[in-house]
Amino acid sequence: MRHSIIAIATGRPRAVFAIAVLVTLLFGAMLPRIQIDTDPENMLPAAQTDRVFHNLVKQRFALHDAIVVGVVNTSDANGVFNIETLSALQAISERILAIDGVVRNDVMSLSLADNISQGEEGEIRFSWMMKDAPTTQSEVDAIRSAVNRLPLLLNTLVSEDDRAAAIYVPIESKDLSYPISLQIQSIASEYPNTGEYHITGLPVAEDTFGVQMFRQMAISAPLAGLMIFVLMWFFFRSARLVIAPMLVAMITVIVTMGLLVGLGFTVHIMSSMIPIFLMPIAVVDSVHIMSAFSDRYEPGQDVKETISGVVDDLYKPMLFTSLTTGVGFASLLITPVPPVQVFGAFVAFGVLLAFIMTIVLIPAFVVRMKPDSLKALGRLKAGSDADTLLARLLRATGRLTPRFSKLIIALAVGIVLFSIAGVQRIEINDNPVRWFKSDHRIRVADAILNEHFAGTYDAFLVLTNEDDTITREFRERATVLLDSAAADGVDIAALRKLIQNTETAQGQYFGQIISATDDLLFESDSGLEPLEELLFAAEEAQSRSKYFQDPDALREVAALQQALMNTGGVGKTNALPDVVKVENRELRGGDNASYEIPATPQAVAQTLLQYQSSHRPQDLWHMVTPDFRSTAIWLQLKSGDNRDMTHVINAIDDYLHAHPLPSGVTANWAGKTYINVIWQDEMVAGMLNSLFGAFAIVFLMMALLFRSPLLGLLAMVPLTATILAVYGLIGWIGKDYDMPIAVLSSLVLGLSVDFAIHFIQRMRVLREELGCYVEATKLIFEEPARAIARNAIVIALGFTPLFFAALVPYITVGAFMAAIMVISGVATLLLLPALMSLGQEDTRMAEAGESQEGV
């Protein structure tokens, strides 16, 4: 097949170009349909259990993602408690309500909060905390002392140090958070000298990231292209020559991204890096062909024949390096994180596409080259890089490695051991807010607001009573009573239907039955006794089924809140017991001694009836469901680091192990901060599988390629050392093992094995040709070593534009790709010859006797 491909490419170059242009235009036309997706939730498949539960909880408790707006006043002695700052806070809150996409009823701010307090004559008083801007300092002071008595507001809406106040702005859809945050910012800027305004919250971070990511794509990929162009121009000294590989790279990127967009995939942070990955990888094969062609071509020779020969010879190593690189990326499909899978699949596709483009377009390009340009190739050969610094360095390496092979191996073993120790120090951690540089306004806002408040990161611990014994027993009893009423001639058909309906939500099941029974009792003359009994049974079951109205259950929740605080990782918890206690205290005269949960479910119910008589009755349903069978503890965390969230989760697991919940009651986590932990866990575990999977496949391919398991194993040595060294380095420098770092592992494998393939393959050929190991070593450090080094440099430097990215994950990828290329290049050029020469001592003796086949 390869012969017919080459024949077509060299025979009909115009047609080949036309098709390439057509295909590129076709796929390029899909690019405008691009859709950016920065929701970390999408790191989990839509049906993933934790994600499903997270969304269920959001619905169940009517929760929305929220932007956190903070005002900090450090210049006033009273902090934010001065007329100007509070007036600004009131005005800004009012204007936020008018922004489209804001969930008006749930905006939290001092000016929208309710106050419950003691009136002048000991009466209980329900009022707005600060409906209008205060006009005197005594009004301001009254607000301050009121807030101090309300644990649900303190440290959430106003910081304990009085220096900061916050507005929580829930939004209908998270992709509105960037435009809304801009609107809020511009509103706040109209109130200068009232404090510093900061905007943060995970939705803002994520959405802002998306906007910047889009810009980053538009900058980084072309910059990487430019960088590669400059590098190749430096190596080949001919702009015209370099155009061909650049075309291959561009076509590869456009077709791959066009396909991705065209198939309806969204561009996530991972897939936004596809162009940057493909660009350097795509030119590598071209570099090989161009080098080999310039090596062999003599003026006057048949161009077609020469290029055909070159492509034919390089076909197999290029195919294998492309396949191994492809396998490295494709192994990401094993990781159950959809954006990572998309990234892996499309880069793998791009790598293979680049291979095909190279073997088709480069020969077509070369045969169409003018004689002048071909002469340039000749010049390239004449002025070959035999005496460059790189060449001399490599030659010296070639001379010294056999002599110091034991030292090199000892050193490598030392580095590997050191790296293994480093790997064990790796801290798995991520936090989308940290995807911004530390001087980004979101990072700054995050730091400042979390310094003052209990925390701007949300998580929810949700307790649910799933035991349906009460309903089941009621239904049995009710059926008996209904039969008895029916025997007395009461028409109970409708009531029976209600009672037997198992679909009705528990919150309304008893309520509907009670209403119907009550009506029936009034209308009937007979059957009163069983109906009254039924009414009583329904009322009793209704009361008992409201589990979180029970004082014992509330005390359990309160104890869990305390346990959460004891973990040390939680800034504050807000939950139903807090509401009940505040309401109880104020009903009983405002004494702190009454800050407690009342004694009976009835007392709790009546207390909550008062809480619901506020301006914001709906607030209750953010904490408990109307059937009182599920309750959510809202955690405010100062840190969104997965490590910190994981610590809290583990501590609560221990607590619940020591203090088990009653049977039927479950505890589950939800909230953005928790979801981030989950996808990271999936990613780390998945990446490990991907790595092992890719390792096994690449090893098999190597063994197949070299027809020797031993050589296959040898080929794995440099990349194994590289992976360990890179991750050891991460461990030692204390860089968190985050999303980009995790993804890189499989890539290292796919990319760095290329060097080993070329080295071993060329070494084998040279040894067969020369029949002498020492001579082969000398020659391998000429052109082949230079090609390897050159490719390592092209790829490493090709990623450097990422250093200038505004977003941290891009910088991380750039830095580590460069490091990987350098380390694996060095490992290949030092470790492989050292190991080979070690094996050679036995071989040399054998060589004296009989000739031996291959190394």
Partner: protein, 269 residues
């Protein structure tokens, strides 16, 4: 004005007959008639209310209570006693309201579970009534003197008026509009507009029946358009002019609800 919800509504005697002849053009007069029709039917009255509160997801909460009402002075002060019967956990919870025109109401609360009588500060009347989408003010009536009224449309069925608060700091709306039935003078629809100019709350009279000669709203609904939640109120076992004595509306009734007057009138339906 959000008068639709009160069951104890009595249309003024001449409303049904005379007014038809010629349309009224004085907004204040219309409002005054509507206030009478909605809150001052009979000298006294009783009604049983079932409230079904639904959130945007259709989840229900129910409340059932009996309202006793006595007019102290026509179009003026009134007494209300609200006694809860459902859900059973709040049974026996009682509100006593002494409504005063031109000054703050007196309000008391009794919670049997805490065995606690508590005065409630007058303060703000536009808070939720026990978690419903109705406000306290909807139950006892908003003083017509707190708004300025403009009649801007008269059609075959209704007078359409716009009401603007004199003191906007006390309310969450910037204005509201009412559709007042020309025959009964009962408001059939009220829409509240916020400062952004959007209607965010709507109250509707869904069913009106004549009881003891008084047109009475027997079913009404309030919808919170911001949250998509709504509350239905059904008024049943209504009776007017039953002679409830003044001493029923005293603090004593909080701990000992007046069973005699809370009992359902047997032949009502």
């Amino acid at each position: 004005m959000k008068t639709v919800i009160t069951a104890i509504a009595l249309s003024v005697a001449f409303a049904a007959s005379d007014s038809r002849a010629e349309d009224l053009s004085d907004a204040d007069e219309i409002v005054s008639l509507a206030n009478s029709a909605s809150y001052y039917a009979g000298n006294d009255g009783r009604s049983e209310v079932r409230m079904i509160i639904r959130d945007a997801q259709g989840r229900e909460q129910r409340r059932q209570f009996t309202i006793l009402r006595r007019t102290v002075e026509d179009a003026g002060d009134q007494d209300f006693l609200v006694v809860f019967s459902q859900p059973s956990d709040v049974r026996g919870t009682v509100f006593l309201v002494k409504k005063h025109v031109g000054r703050d109401d007196d309000r008391w609360l009794y919670l049997p579970g805490l065995d606690l009588v508590k005065r409630i500060s007058a303060g703000d009347k536009r808070t939720s009534f026990v978690g419903a989408h109705y406000f306290y003010e909807d139950v006892s009536g908003r003083d017509p003197g707190e708004d300025t009224h403009v009649l801007h449309e008269t059609n075959d069925e209704s007078y359409v008026l716009t009401h603007t608060p004199k003191d906007s700091s006390q309310v969450e709306f910037s204005r509201y509009q009412t559709w007042i039935d020309k025959n009964t003078f009962l408001p059939t629809r009220i829409e509240y507009t916020n400062s952004a100019g959007n209607v965010y709350r709507r109250v509707e009279a869904l069913e009106v029946e004549e009881i003891n000669g008084y047109p009475t709203v027997t079913k009404s609904r309030v919808v919170d358009l911001d949250s998509d939640g709504q509350t239905d109120m059904q008024f049943r076992y209504i009776a007017y002019d039953i002679g409830i004595p003044a001493d029923v509306f005293t603090e004593r009734s909080l701990r000992r609800p007046p069973g005699e007057w809370l009992k359902r009138p047997a032949a009502d339906q």
